[in-house]
Amino acid sequence: MSSLQRAFSRIPWAYTARRLLIAIPTMLAIITMAFLMMRAAPGGPFDGERKLPAATEKAIAAKFGFDKPLHEQYFDYVGGVLQGDFGPSYKTLGKSVNDLIADGLPISLTIGSLAMILGITLGTLLGVFAGLRQNSSADYGVMGLAMFGISIPTFVTGPILILIFALGAGIFAVGGLGTYPNIGMNWHNMTLPVITLALPQIAIISRLMRASIIETMRSNHIRTARSKGLSERQVIARHALPAALLPLISYAGPAMARVMTGSVVIEKVFGLPGLGSYFVNGALNRDYTLVMGAIIVYAGLIVLLNLVADILYAVLDPKVKYD
């Protein structure tokens, strides 16, 4: 049996099915909460400075379905979402929420996933490096830096990085998706946002990995590996690392949620038109359908990634047993 087959046979199908079943009421609860919150809000999305003529107001209400009773509006909306239709944007004329999400999501996903990769790689390396030298000056140095990474908000590191590397050294773009000849998602425009978003993750993951490797190095299976006469390098690479990496998987779910919330700030600092900036602008402008769409996409991603992380954990950790 190949290792891939063995991993496949360890997928807890019943557990996965049960988790997927829980995901449905979760998503419904999210949609309902967001829907009710916005309908409970004083003032509608089309209340302007000027009072509109009654006929115009009626036409708007009919176009967006406000004239129907609340429960009908709700069922219409949920029905639309189930078919993948988030409805028209209230504020961006002529665009549907689907269009806006299609515009913004790729940018958010790109900086989010790049930041996660950077955070996991560097965080693991630094954490293992520090943990294997516990209580040395190298350990204290790395952990001190990690403490700074946790304590300094991204909207401080972002502007400072812009000041140094964009305005000062002129290596990267100050913000936005760039000016000629550097338009689009390329290293010139994306490096600083990705680094800024990754910094807190590097800090958190390195602390996590340090504690994990310290605990693993004291466990019985490491003692066994040592007593077999393996070299220290083999003990670490073949026996300690795989075990020490497990807590990282259970952190992956919450980490993705953090990165996504973080990207809201990053998109504002760097002026990137991602889903996060659409969400915030939508909330400030009372573009309710856009806000609902963004929340549903975010929640769906978080629920999905949590599920994947949990299944991965079950596949990789031989001690976990799901009933």
Partner: protein, 303 residues
């Protein structure tokens, strides 16, 4: 601990209990000794103490008021007229605003954490103590809520309804209680089944005494650590909202609002960013060092 509480010693024999306490070192004595041995934690406590005093007394005694608008707009730090950190675009003294902002940020940190503490401890202790099906149901709710992008709901809440500082307290506190509930429940479950609880019960100790004397002290440790580590998270969350323009209303301010204003003008007026950003970093560093120190002191297995 020199006074023996008759409630806690149902045998009524006060003497031996007193001697036992005097003779040995309790968990808390050990923890305190370890905590005070941690230089980073001790230094952080001093610095944080000074910051708290400045935040409480500073705005009352400082020569400038944080609301007073003047013609000295956006001047750099100077000794003239005591604008030690300069002024903002409306000519308000930045040191005065920094002190009031620090006060608000610390207040948000403490109050929102207290909200999460009350909800989390009640929820977790109830689930852990009752156990069984109720526990299962209550913790499933926590699991479901855990998967929600709560901060987005907070943003929605703050944009849809009229903003005030109490809404911010409640909203942030309502996000952070989930982990607290998990910690308290796990701890309660673990302790409930321990032999020393059984021994106490067998010795005829009342239920109230068991909870007060045996369960509570063992839950307090992890909760205290988590509370210390939650305060910086909450301060960050508030500053996150402020940065998006959803924080406290003018003329009141917070570190997040000041940083956000400063970051917008850092090119030509860097002092507007540096002072609040530095204060925030120092405050959060201190809180994190104290929290870490507390954790190491109460749970020394990783040393």
């Amino acid at each position: 601990m020199s006074q023996a509480d008759p409630l806690l010693d149902p045998t009524g024999r006060v003497e031996p209990v007193n001697q036992a306490i005097a003779g040995g070192r309790s968990l808390w004595d050990d923890a305190r000794a370890r905590l005070f041995h941690n230089k980073a934690a001790v230094a952080s406590m001093w610095v944080l103490g000074v910051l708290v005093v400045i935040a409480l007394i500073g705005p009352m005694v400082w020569v400038h008021d944080y609301r007073t608008i003047s013609d000295a707009r956006a001047i750099a730090p100077t000794l003239e007229d005591w604008h030690l950190l300069g002024t903002d675009l409306q000519g308000r003294d930045l040191l005065a605003r920094l002190m009031i902002g620090l006060r608000i940020s610390l207040m948000v940190g403490v109050v929102a954490t207290a909200v999460s503490l009350v909800i989390g401890v009640t929820w977790g202790a109830t689930a852990g103590y009752l156990g069984g099906r109720i526990d299962n149901f209550m913790m499933r709710i926590v699991d479901v809520l855990y998967a929600l992008p709560f901060i987005f709901f907070v943003i929605l809440l703050l944009t849809v309804f009229e903003r005030n500082i109490f809404l911010i307290f409640a909203a942030i506190g309502a996000i952070e209680w989930l982990t607290m509930a998990r910690i308290v429940r796990g701890q309660t479950l673990a302790i409930k089944g321990k032999e020393f609880i059984e021994a106490a019960r067998a010795a005829g100790v009342s239920r109230r005494a068991i909870i007060l004397r045996h369960i509570l002290p063992n839950v307090i440790g992890p909760v205290a650590v988590y509370v210390t580590l939650t305060i910086p998270v909450v301060i960050l969350a508030e500053s996150f909202l402020s940065f998006l323009g959803l924080g406290v209303n003018e003329p009141l301010t917070s570190l997040g609002v000041l940083i956000s204003d400063g970051a917008a003008r850092m090119e030509e007026k860097p002092w507007m960013l540096l002072a609040p950003a530095g204060t925030m970093a120092v405050t959060l560093l201190c809180l994190n060092f104290i929290g870490d120190g507390l954790r190491d002191a109460l749970d020394p297995k990783d040393r």
